[in-house]
């Protein structure tokens, strides 16, 4: 029996998590003592926003160094900091776009913000986890919060259904993940990533079948979170049913967290068995891109379309995982950041255009938007072109990065399939602009009540999308530094 030692930990390393937890509690408390009538609940958004900002500020401090805490189960390094930034950014943007939305949808409960903050904590745990246990716990913290958030519109059947689907399938997939972890544990005797790696290295890099099986099962569990085919099926339904702001949140935060864990586990623990798992990911990547893009073409509901597009983007990111070089990893980081901006931006537009009882979710409802609300249309166009990978937007640089990584490792075929897919995707992204600019309006646009917070979110997203597209250099460098830790 190995004795369980007293944990040593650096308070700095978990400071952001502590801050977020604290603010989550505060939100809950404030919620209890505030009445809806006086609009005090509107303050909750600002409170949670403050928490996010503080977490971001304090999370920055140990940059450049690598800190281990809790007996090397938790680590703060450039890699996790980068991801923390993505998480906090997506959380912050989500709060900005939620503010008016949840009031309008009458789901203005304090738990909403608290759950978002808690799920962010989960994500941070996933990105920072240095062993499988903390990654698992992070994943569950994140997921359970989002299960609830998905069903937050309690009175709406569609929301209930989404929540139920997500919950049952999520728990089901978690079962596979856990089983995978147990097999790896059984095979290597360790749940710490570094120890697993050294165990495999000790065996000359030749893994035994049980380990391989465990690895496969972990791919299922994480593949579910990042929405990889064939574990993607929950995505369209849940995205459609969830409150739009939560859809936006789900499409970026958990996906990024999934990839954070994916990369860390597979690069750190299974780095030397790259040959074993790359072929699986290879197939998954192709399937994910292709199925996501192809099915997206036929969608008429914008949330579903964005859901399939989100699946397709996961496919591109899997390419980077296959390539498994520093370029691929930093590319993933960059891509996820870019994706955060453009995707939340797009959902923000969707939220702005919706109103109570009429969510305006059919793509055709956007007809004539281009000249009726030029700012929204331009923003939407920007996000769509960015997702399609047209320069000079962030999405292009991200794709460029990832395809470069694939070519660098010699996966020309994968890159070719990737670019073909990106052409297919152009069709449905273009369709949004077609409808906005080139079709006559089929209905009146009701006077929009645009809250300043959501405008801030849209502007931040636009700036981010353009900045990463035109001046990506700084972020690239940071992302490249972040990857060094994995090898």
């Amino acid at each position: 029996m190995t004795p369980v030692s007293i944990m040593t930990f650096n308070i700095l390393s978990i400071l952001p998590i502590l801050i977020l937890s604290g603010f989550g509690m505060i939100v809950l408390f404030v919620d209890i003592f505030s009445s809806r009538r006086w609009g005090e609940k509107n303050l909750l958004a600002y409170v949670s926003l403050l928490g996010v900002v503080l977490a971001a500020i304090f999370g920055r401090s140990p940059t450049g160094t690598t800190l281990f805490s809790f007996n090397e189960t938790f680590t703060i390094d450039n890699y996790s900091l980068f991801f923390n930034f993505i998480f906090l950014l997506s959380t912050g943007l989500t709060i900005l776009i939620s503010h008016s939305y949840i009031r309008r949808e009458e789901i203005n409960h304090g738990e909403y913000y608290a759950l978002i903050l808690f799920s962010t904590i989960g994500m941070m745990l996933m990105a920072s986890g240095a062993d499988l246990l903390s990654i698992y716990i992070g994943l569950e913290v994140m997921s359970v919060s989002i299960y609830i958030l998905t069903g937050f519109k309690r009175s709406k059947l569609i929301s209930n259904e989404a929540s139920l689907k997500y919950f049952l399938l999520g728990a089901f997939a978690t079962g596979f993940l856990l089983y995978g972890i147990s097999l790896i544990y059984g095979s290597t005797g360790a749940i710490n990533l570094k120890q697993i790696a050294s165990f495999i290295a000790g065996r000359g890099g030749i893994p035994d079948p049980v380990l391989l099986m465990g690895m496969g099962l972990i791919i299922i569990g994480l593949g579910f979170k990042v929405a990889s085919v064939p574990f993607h099926t929950w995505v369209p339904d849940v995205y459609e049913g969830a409150p739009t702001a939560i859809t936006a949140f789900m499409s970026v935060g958990p996906k990024a967290a999934g990839f954070a864990a994916f990369l860390r586990i597979f690069m750190t623990a299974f780095g030397s068995t790259h040959g074993e798992w790359q072929k699986i990911i290879y197939v998954l990547a192709i399937l994910t891109m292709t199925i996501g893009n192809v099915i997206a073409i036929a969608q008429t509901n914008i949330k579903r379309m964005l859901a399939y597009s989100s699946i397709a983007h996961a496919g591109y990111l899997l390419i980077a995982l296959v390539a498994a070089n520093n370029m691929g990893i930093s590319g993933t980081l960059f891509y996820l950041l870019a994706y955060t901006f453009m995707n939340i931006g797009a959902f923000a537009i969707v939220i702005v255009l919706s109103r109570k009882g009429d969510e305006c979710l059919q793509i055709n409802d956007y007809a004539g938007l281009g000249f009726k609300h030029p700012f929204l249309a331009i923003a939407m166009t920007l996000f769509m072109f960015s997702m399609a990978g047209v320069p000079p937007m962030a999405g292009f640089v991200g794709k460029f990065y990832i395809f470069s990584a694939a070519i660098k490792s010699g996966y020309i075929g994968l890159a070719v399939i990737g670019v073909i897919n990106s052409v297919i995707s152009v069709y449905y992204y273009l369709r949004i602009t077609v409808i906005m600019y080139m079709k006559e309006p089929t209905r009146d646009f009701h006077p929009l009540t645009i809250s300043p917070l959501i405008v801030v979110a849209i502007i931040i997203s636009m700036i981010g999308t353009l900045h990463l597209g035109i001046f990506p250099s700084k972020v690239m460098e940071i992302a490249q530094q972040a990857t060094l830790i994995l090898k």
Binding site: P391, S404, A415, S422, Y427, V434
Partner: protein, 499 residues
């Protein structure tokens, strides 16, 4: 939007474009015709982590294409005077388009090039899609996706070059001039050539990748068509000259028959199909396929006449076909139809217009003394020097050109006026006259005294030939081995770098 504001926007845009044109003129006058090196170079780091620079410069090949762009821009803005719908957005799109086009021709960094290459898709797409004709959406989407399909493969090839260069020199860069020095194996050249050529062939467009063009042209607003025909198509041919030939010389040599036959088929086929169109814009669009077939034939003649002819013909096609679209646009503005059958006998009502139209038609036919001839003849001469058969077949295109253009001209301008609406048509307005006259003056200038143009190209074209020739010789024996079978390439070992 009130009309005064619209007028202000128009005039401002026009002034901006004229200023740009005037600013581009020093490029011509200060251009050192004896140097093949890039001139007016600017190089600033852009994305240092990838070795990407904002690196621009021009040589004798890009000089005229840039001038063509800046010249056609005020012309097309002037031709857009009738646009009233969303005038602000329209003008923005036009100016963004100009940025993209000039950027493509000036970029010396392949990443930058690709960014510009794609960037100008968006405004063009919007121009077609918002201000176009009835089937504008289909045309716009087709244009965008078709072009994008080609260019993504080019992107992959650019990335591959990037790593190949790194492997050879240890330096991460997208600098075209560095890439020129690469010694690539034949197999690599073969595939990279294909990737680049696919993108460019769609853009040119070469047969059989041309079907987006008629649709795009027919639906685009006049100015869109002018820019599309005048400049955008040239990006394809320019790409061949700037990238395919010097980067992949052996592969280019091996592909001479393929490209040449595609060009020849394009020449004849484009002409024949053009002949039987009943929509004026479609007719001109297919004639572009034919004309650009000539350009490609000239480029792949691999001698100075062919390439100089090709570049000249790019300019000529920009002027003549651009002018043709302007003319068609003027007819459309008057009658709101482009069907040839709806016209006839216009000469009687519009004599000045008839004269201008005729000159432009003749320029497009390639009448000696006008610009079209200089390019076409040099191309054919060059092609003839390299492969007599190709040139002989292609020359028949000049017969067909006369057939389809003159037949069109006859049906539109000659005969009695049969349609009542045509009896009240007005001759060209001052604005329209101002649009066409500069074009016609240049048409005559290039036709009668093309030498100043040709001289500025000499050094660059000679250098290009030296590049392709020298590099081709080093691996020339490979050619014979590899022509029969498509080379198998061990891509992984060719490109795989250390982690």
């Amino acid at each position: 939007m009130d009309s005064r504001k619209g007028e202000l926007i128009r005039i401002t845009t026009l002034l901006v474009s004229i200023v740009v044109f005037v600013l581009s003129l020093p490029l011509y006058f200060n251009f050192n015709a004896h140097a093949y090196e890039m001139q007016f170079v600017e190089k600033l780091p852009w994305i240092p982590s990838f070795g990407i620079h904002y690196h621009v410069g021009i040589d004798g090949i890009s000089l005229f294409l840039i001038l063509l762009t800046t010249f056609l821009m005020p012309v097309s803005i002037l031709a857009s005077w009738h646009i009233t719908k969303h005038i602000k957005e329209y003008m923005i799109a036009m100016l963004v388009l100009e940025t993209g086009m000039v950027g493509v021709f000036a970029s010396l960094d392949l990443f930058l090039f690709y960014v510009y290459w794609e960037l100008m898709l968006i405004p063009m797409y919007l121009l077609i899609g918002i201000w176009g004709g009835p089937r504008r959406i289909y045309a716009a989407v087709k244009f965008f996706i078709y072009t994008m399909t080609g260019s993504v493969f080019m992107l992959l090839a650019i990335i591959a070059l990037y790593f190949l260069n790194h492997r050879a020199t240890g330096e991460y860069t997208f600098n075209l001039l560095e890439f020129y020095r690469l010694e690539l194996s034949f197999a690599v050249q073969f595939w990279l050539f294909l990737a680049f050529a696919f993108a460019f062939a769609i853009k040119v467009p070469m047969f059989p990748f041309h079907t987006w063009l008629p649709d795009a042209h027919v639906e685009a607003p006049t100015a869109g068509s002018v820019i599309l025909a005048g400049v955008l198509l040239k990006m394809g041919t320019y790409g061949f000259v700037r990238f395919c030939l010097p980067l992949f010389p052996e592969a280019s040599h091996v592909f001479i028959p393929v490209i040449s036959w595609m060009a020849i088929v394009g020449i004849i086929y484009g002409a024949l199909v053009s002949m039987v169109q009943d929509d004026l814009k479609k007719l001109v669009a297919y004639s572009s396929v034919s004309h650009l077939g000539f350009v490609m034939l000239g480029i792949f003649a691999f001698n100075i006449q062919g390439i100089e002819g090709g570049i000249t013909q790019m300019i000529n096609h920009g002027l003549s076909t651009g002018a043709l679209f302007l003319v068609v646009g003027m007819l459309y503005e008057r009658r709101h139809t482009r069907m040839i059958a709806d016209f006839g006998g216009l000469t009687k009502r519009m004599p000045v217009f008839a004269t201008l139209f005729l000159i432009i038609t003749l320029s497009s036919i390639g009448l000696p003394g006008l610009n079209g001839f200089v390019g076409e003849f040099l191309i054919l001469l060059g092609a003839f020097r390299s492969r007599i058969l190709y040139a002989s077949i292609a020359t028949s295109g000049i017969i067909l050109a006369a057939v389809y253009m003159l037949w069109m001209f006859q049906r539109v301008m000659f005969h009695e006026i049969i349609h009542e609406e045509n009896k009240t048509l007005k001759d060209v307005s001052k604005r329209e006259f101002a649009i066409l006259i500069p074009l016609i003056m240049i048409i005559f200038w290039i036709g009668i005294y093309p030498n100043p143009f040709l001289r500025k190209m000499d050094a660059s074209v000679n250098h290009l030939l030296k590049q392709t020739g020298e590099k081709a010789q080093t691996v020339s024996n490979l050619q014979t081995q590899n022509t029969a079978v498509i080379p198998k390439i061990d891509i992984v070992s060719e490109t795989k770098a250390e982690w």
